[in-house]
């Protein structure tokens, strides 16, 4: 069922839709950018109203309403050799062409019964005014006829319906004249006695289908007078199809339990399904796309034997968030501009003081082989509470706990949770986002080990070609940014950040000197945005997210690298991933370049325009598909509604039948009772009659005795039966009959209603 919304755009720049491969020749609503000329096939393009766009819209109604016409059509078709023209058939049958077209459509929908070829012919047709003239004569003729021999005042003539037009025409035809010298104003007189109404004759010719008898000049003159119009008639040339048959039965739409039990499905034809229509989506809940990707990452870590760290503390002290990580107190990340500090509770209540002392010494004086930062470390600064800026604070706590357990046991840790930055918000930055972090602590871990485990991790994401770039993070040394080769861009793009935690961070915790801790991190949002093709992070996180968006984006996440999303990911991974496992936020910045494109006037080259046009068209196609789905759903729900309604109606009718039946039954019973009574009375009456007769005879024979016995007879009320005496039972009978017939009528009435 494809309404006429197909646009076609064709080909100077040969922009092609990526997706229209199989839809090309179907009735899909897909757009094609094939030309600069846009032609919209609208249903009202022809007089028959049967433009291709309407093709199937009417099928449903037609199939319902055109039964008899379709049958007629099939019979005629059987008799004909070759085929039929729908317009001719309509003329022969004396019906609207549209009705025949409807029948053609409904037959087409049955499959191969008939073949119909759309033909368009041009012909001349009268306009409404032309028809009037063909019927009643031209205006000038009417004017001529309306003038009596004694003439007519011009003012009066002008008041006639055809007055103005007819007057000037009749004048130019020299049928009439005006006498301006008349006493009561100008008067019009006939000049000729009779005239030939040529216009009417010509129009009648056209009306009779003989327009070709008129000359080109005559036709164009009539057209100029808007009496004639050339119309394009779309007709069908109907011929027998491969499954031609005159006995078409109405097709079943669906298999029903009755059909299965009775086996009638064997003999019934079934309407073909439209497999292009969309299905009805199941009514279900959905998981959030970002959290689905989170689950995927969790799975990867678990597969690799990593234990999840507790990260359920959004509030952290500066000490654990910064100082413990050997991040100096003047570090820019500790600025009000970058970090959310707390007003209440403003300060941490407890810190592990002996550990704090070791941290303080390392910062201000050095130690553990370090020069330190040589500044005055302040406890107040370390106490300041904040919303953690990275989950590395949780890693620090986990490592500190690990250091307290003796002897040391190697561990592999991971976490994925929210972190907070006091950033200026834009399309790629939010004040909160998710950070993914992996940590391995063991004796003698090397940079090679870090690279090795990163290779395994990214392989599980589907990213195999890795390269490492030296970088700087405050609490890892050595540090390396992880790059992956992008096949599409033919260049290396960043996918994560990593490093070996500094001894200044680990040794004050109490970890053994030969234990190394390697770690890496990335943000959860960026790969997710790339995976789902989201440009604005607000479309992914927060309350402004479209719930339908969540629904349509919740397809099962594929391994990120196995699909083309991987390429996209990398494409967007141009910029730094930020300061080590900590600052995954910076990774979000990568998308900036992309969105910037839309605003840069410099980039409006043909390529971009083409790309945008392509995008636009894809959008249009997408929304058309949505519309289509909507229509399908609407139709489906309409069908269900209608069938529901019919069912209800039917039920009600049956209810009424039942009620009526009851009444009828009752009345009938009463009726038979009364009838029995009547017959009883009749026999009684007969007996009385009989006895009266006998008495009468007796009286006749003995007149005196009769006169004596008459009185008492009367007083007993047993008068002889008379027709008028039987009135009440008669009335009763007729009223019952009436009720019954009324009931039958109303039954029929509702039946008809039901069918309608």
């Amino acid at each position: 069922m494809e309404p006429g919304w197909r646009w076609e755009l064709s080909a100077v720049h040969h922009l092609r839709l990526r997706r229209h491969t199989q839809d090309d020749d179907t009735l899909s609503p897909a757009l094609r950018l094939d030309t600069f000329k846009m032609a919209m096939h609208s249903p009202d393009s022809g007089s028959g109203g049967s433009g291709p766009g309407q093709d199937t819209l009417s099928t449903l109604e037609a199939a319902m309403a055109d039964g008899p016409v379709a049958e007629l059509l099939l019979r005629r078709l059987e008799a004909s050799d070759g085929g039929l023209d729908s317009a001719e058939l309509a003329a022969e049958l004396g019906m609207e062409h549209q009705a025949v077209v409807g029948a053609v459509k409904s037959l087409q929908a049955l499959g191969e019964v008939i073949e119909a070829e759309l033909r368009s012919t041009k012909r001349w047709e009268l306009t409404a005014e032309g028809e009037e003239i063909a019927r009643e004569g031209s205006h000038e003729a009417r004017v001529f006829r309306s003038i009596p021999p004694e003439g007519l005042a011009q003012s009066e003539l002008m008041r006639l319906p055809s007055g103005k037009v007819g007057f000037s025409k009749a004048m130019s035809n020299k049928w009439i004249r005006v006498d301006k010298s008349a006493a009561d104003g100008p008067r019009v007189f006939r000049v000729v006695d009779s005239m030939e109404d040529e216009v009417q004759r010509r129009l009648q010719l056209v009306q009779g289908g003989q327009a070709e008898k008129l000359g080109e000049k005559e036709r164009s003159e009539l057209r100029k007078r808007k009496l004639l119009a050339e119309v394009t008639l779309k007709t069908y040339w109907v011929s027998k199809g491969s499954a031609f048959s005159t006995s078409i039965s109405k097709q079943e739409t669906e298999l029903s339990p009755e059909m299965i039990s009775s086996g009638s499905w064997r003999d019934r034809p079934f309407k073909p399904y439209n497999f292009l229509a969309h299905g009805v989506l199941p009514d279900s809940g959905h998981l959030h796309p970002l959290l689905k990707v989170r689950s995927q990452f969790r799975q990867i870590f678990l597969e690799m034997g990593f234990t999840e760290m507790p990260t359920d503390n959004f509030i952290e002290s500066s000490f654990w968030n910064f100082d413990a990580l050997f991040q100096p107190q003047q570090h820019p990340a500790r600025d009000q501009h970058d970090t959310f500090f707390l007003r209440d509770p403003a300060e941490a209540l407890q810190l592990p003081m002996d550990y704090v002392q070791r941290v303080k010494r390392t910062h201000s004086q050095g130690g553990y082989g370090s020069q330190g930062y040589k500044y005055t470390w302040k406890l107040d600064e370390a106490r300041k509470n904040l919303l953690r800026t990275h989950t590395t604070s949780a890693s620090a706590r986990a490592l500190y706990r690990l250091a307290q357990k003796k002897p040391f046991t190697p561990v592999k840790y991971f976490s994925i949770d929210r972190v907070f930055r006091n950033e200026t918000l834009d399309a790629t930055h939010l004040a909160e986002f998710h950070q993914i972090e992996g940590v391995v602590a063991d004796h003698g871990l090397t940079l090679g080990h870090l690279m090795g485990i990163l290779r395994e991790f990214f392989t599980k994401l589907g990213i195999t070609q890795l390269r490492f770039k030296p970088a700087y993070n405050p609490y890892t040394e050595p540090s390396m940014e992880v790059f992956s080769y992008h096949q599409g861009l033919k260049k290396w793009v960043e996918v994560g950040n990593s490093g070996v935690f500094r001894p200044e961070m680990l040794l004050p915790m109490g970890l053994p000197e030969n234990v190394s801790v390697i770690a890496w991190g990335l943000s959860l949002e960026r790969p997710t945005m790339i995976k789902y093709g989201i440009n604005n992070i607000r479309d992914l996180v927060g309350h402004k997210v479209d719930v339908p968006h969540v629904k349509c984006k919740d397809q099962e996440p594929q391994p990120l690298g196995e699909s083309k999303e991987h390429q996209q990911w990398e494409e967007n991974c141009k910029e730094e991933a930020g300061g080590g496992p900590a600052s995954a936020s910076c990774q979000l910045t990568v998308l900036e370049g992309k969105s910037g494109l839309y605003f840069s006037s410099l980039d409006s080259s043909i390529d971009i325009l083409q790309k945008r046009a392509q995008e636009l068209i894809e959008n249009i196609n997408e929304s058309r598909q949505k519309d289509h789905a909507l229509m399908t759903n609407f139709r489906n729900s309409l069908k269900t509604k209608v069938s529901d309604l019919t069912e209800k109606l039917e039920e009600r009718i049956y209810q009424i039948y039942n009620d009526h039946n009851k009444i009828i039954q009752e009345k009938l019973q009463e009726f038979t009772q009364k009838m029995a009574k009547i017959s009883h009375l009749e026999t009684e009456l007969k007996q009385v009659c009989h006895s009266v007769e006998t008495v009468y005879k007796d009286l006749c024979l003995q007149p005196e005795s009769l006169r004596l016995r008459r009185g008492p007879d009367h007083s007993r009320g047993k008068s002889p039966p008379r027709p008028s005496d039987s009135q009440p039972p008669d009335v009763f009978v007729s009223s019952v009959a009436e009720t019954t017939s009324q009931a039958t009528a109303s039954e029929e009435q509702t039946h008809r209603d039901g069918e309608c």
């Binding site: 809940g285 959290l291 034997g305 359920d312 090397t446 080990h449 490492f468």
Partner: protein, 589 residues
């Protein structure tokens, strides 16, 4: 990461060869730099201000190079070239020398008034320097880069450079009342008092960012020469009198600040970078700084430090097997002159004054790894055998999420931060009753507090999705934060599950049914005994009276469910009845 912008041709000229963009990008990658952008002044201006303004701008190709935040020695063309040339073993790292002047040493005397505002100052002299336009520009640009990075926007250190020939020492670094300071500042034509200047600069796009450092302080720092000429009023502006030009031959450099270590590093960087253009290359004339306590120090320090690192430590940390000799060679390429000493396994490394970032052996290890080439290192999997464990709370959350979705509810992800109004006023609560954690420096009202309930986020999500067909069934399982003095930081996360049903009817039975399903999943039987669950009539300001129940499970209250109060619905800009359920899932672990 600071970005340094250098002229490509100038760079190649200094490097003594040309590169294609790809080759140079490759070189940067290897060295730990990033060729961020290839552009020109014209392109930059046209991008920022449009083509018209860019008409007259230069077409010279610029390389924008990202430099690691701790490598102050790479913040200018001179440093970059020196670093790369040494890395490619085309030159040997120069040795920077501090020399005493033939005549009198320049003196900077610090008075005790500075103690409260900006107590430290260091100074040095670049003698017989020869600038060109490019060198001069680079000199100014380096100061700016240092100001933005290590100097923390001039808060820690501020640099002043002066034409020494216009001044006469000794100099005095003191602090005075703003009204008592009067001088003609750089690029102005007349004298102003410090108070006036502070007002003028409020509208100066460049300088207004530094005013807060001294504004509202009783005394402002200022440096005078022996004739009372103002050299500068750090950290805001220099005097116009001693301004340097392309023709300046002798430069007096002063760095004042609150961080002595950083002031010394900044001075070292400037003099090591630009002594290249002095008549005696890489030599710097010393200056004497007298502190208020009378002690006198000579600057710049230009300290060379020796570190010993065992070769096998480097091999072990990186995961390579190189001979000590090779390692020493690698380190030398990183500007760290090294040689094998002692038992043949010890490497002695000389840390030059330019490499203030080397504070631990691990920094040396990294440089060895960089010189070796990260991508030449053999990848190996750590043999760390561990059994994975999920964090129990997250494990429970994951299980519940799937079942909530299976129950027909759609998951949302809302912000953990919100406005006070969201968690209090809109729910009919007083903010003090919420025990919420408050943020001190939010940029907008959206980040005033951490949420204490998930409900507002869900209701806001519904409000943003009102056009959706009803009913809306949403849920979220995430953390909320409550103040709690029993924890070390004074606040605690709780894992909440919240679900809402929004339709033309309140649908309490649906939300109640969901609760029953959740309890079924959690294996909590109905009923009060044996750790079961029960709901009891209750009330709450967010709920419609008589339509609220408290949920008790395993003997404790875990949350509430009910039909939301019409006021709550209206305040969240909703129009339909709504029922909700919110429980803490912690007790079900």
């Amino acid at each position: 990461m600071p970005t340094v912008s250098v002229k490509r041709d100038l760079l190649f000229q200094a490097l003594g060869r040309t590169y294609t963009d790809e080759e140079f990008d490759e070189l940067c990658f290897e060295f730990g730099l990033e060729l961020d952008e290839i552009t020109s002044e014209k392109e930059i201006i046209s991008k920022e201000q449009g083509n018209v303004k860019a008409a007259g701008a230069s077409d010279v190709v610029l390389y924008k190079i990202d430099v690691p935040a701790n490598r102050y020695d790479l913040l200018c063309l001179e440093g970059l070239v020196r670093g790369l040339q040494v890395f490619k073993e085309r030159i040997k790292a120069p040795v920077y020398k501090r020399v005493m002047p033939d005549g009198k040493i320049q003196k900077l005397i610090i008075t005790e008034e500075t103690a409260k505002i900006r107590p430290f100052a260091v100074a040095a002299v670049l003698r017989n320097i020869k600038f060109t336009k490019d060198r001069y520009d680079s000199f100014i640009e380096l100061q700016e880069k240092l100001h933005q990075n290590i100097c923390r926007k001039r808060a820690l250190v501020a640099i002043g450079t002066h034409d020494l020939d216009t001044l006469s020492g000794p100099f005095t670094y003191t602090a005075k009342r703003p009204s008592d300071i009067k001088f003609k500042p750089l690029n102005k034509t007349k004298e102003y008092t410090a108070c006036e200047l502070m007002n003028i600069y409020k509208t100066d796009n460049h300088l207004k960012h530094y005013l807060h450092i001294i504004e509202n302080k009783p005394l402002y720092p200022v440096i005078y020469d022996s004739n009372g000429v103002v050299l500068s009023m750090p950290p805001i502006i220099n005097g116009d009198h001693s301004r340097i030009t392309v023709n300046t031959r002798n430069i007096f450099i002063e760095c004042t600040g609150t961080d002595f270590t950083k002031a010394k590093i900044v001075l070292d960087i400037i003099v090591t970078m630009f002594s290249e253009y002095c008549e005696n290359q890489f030599t710097v004339e010393a200056a004497e700084v007298v502190f208020p306590n009378g002690k006198s120090y000579t600057f710049p320090e230009l300290a060379y430090r020796k570190e010993m690192v065992r070769a096998d430590l480097i091999n072990k940390k990186v995961g390579i097997r190189e001979t000590p000799e090779n390692l020493a060679k690698l380190l030398t390429r990183m500007y760290l002159k090294s040689e094998v000493i002692g038992d043949g396994n010890q490497i002695e490394i000389e840390i030059p004054p330019t490499r203030a970032d080397i504070i631990h052996a691990c920094d040396i290890v990294e440089d060895a790894a960089i010189a070796y080439g990260y991508n030449n290192i053999q990848m190996t999997l750590p043999k760390t055998y561990t059994i994975a464990n999920q964090f129990p709370l997250n494990k429970l959350t994951e299980l519940l999420r799937y079942d909530m979705a299976a129950a027909g509810f759609t998951e949302v992800l809302t912000f953990a931060l919100c406005s006070q109004e969201d968690i209090a006023d809109k729910l009919g609560l007083d903010i003090s009753a919420t025990k919420a954690v408050h943020i001190s420096n939010p940029k907008t009202a959206e980040f005033q507090v951490a949420r204490t309930t998930l409900l507002p986020g869900l209701l806001k999500t519904i409000a943003a999705n009102r056009k959706m067909p009803l009913p809306l069934k949403l849920f979220e399982i995430s953390d909320i934060v409550i103040k709690d003095s029993n924890t070390d930081v004074g606040a605690k996360n709780y894992r909440h599950l919240c679900a809402v049903y929004y339709n033309k009817n309140p649908g309490f039975e649906i939300i109640h049914g969901l609760l029953d399903r959740i309890m079924q999943l959690l294996d909590v039987p109905p009923g009060e005994d044996k750790g079961g669950y029960v709901i009891k009539a209750s009330e709450g300001p967010a709920f419609f009276p008589g339509r609220c129940a408290e949920i008790f499970a395993r003997g404790q209250s875990v949350g509430k469910l009910g039909v939301l109060h019409p006021d709550v619905i209206t305040k969240f800009e909703l129009t339909m009845p709504c029922s909700s359920l919110e429980i803490n899932i912690g007790p079900f672990l």
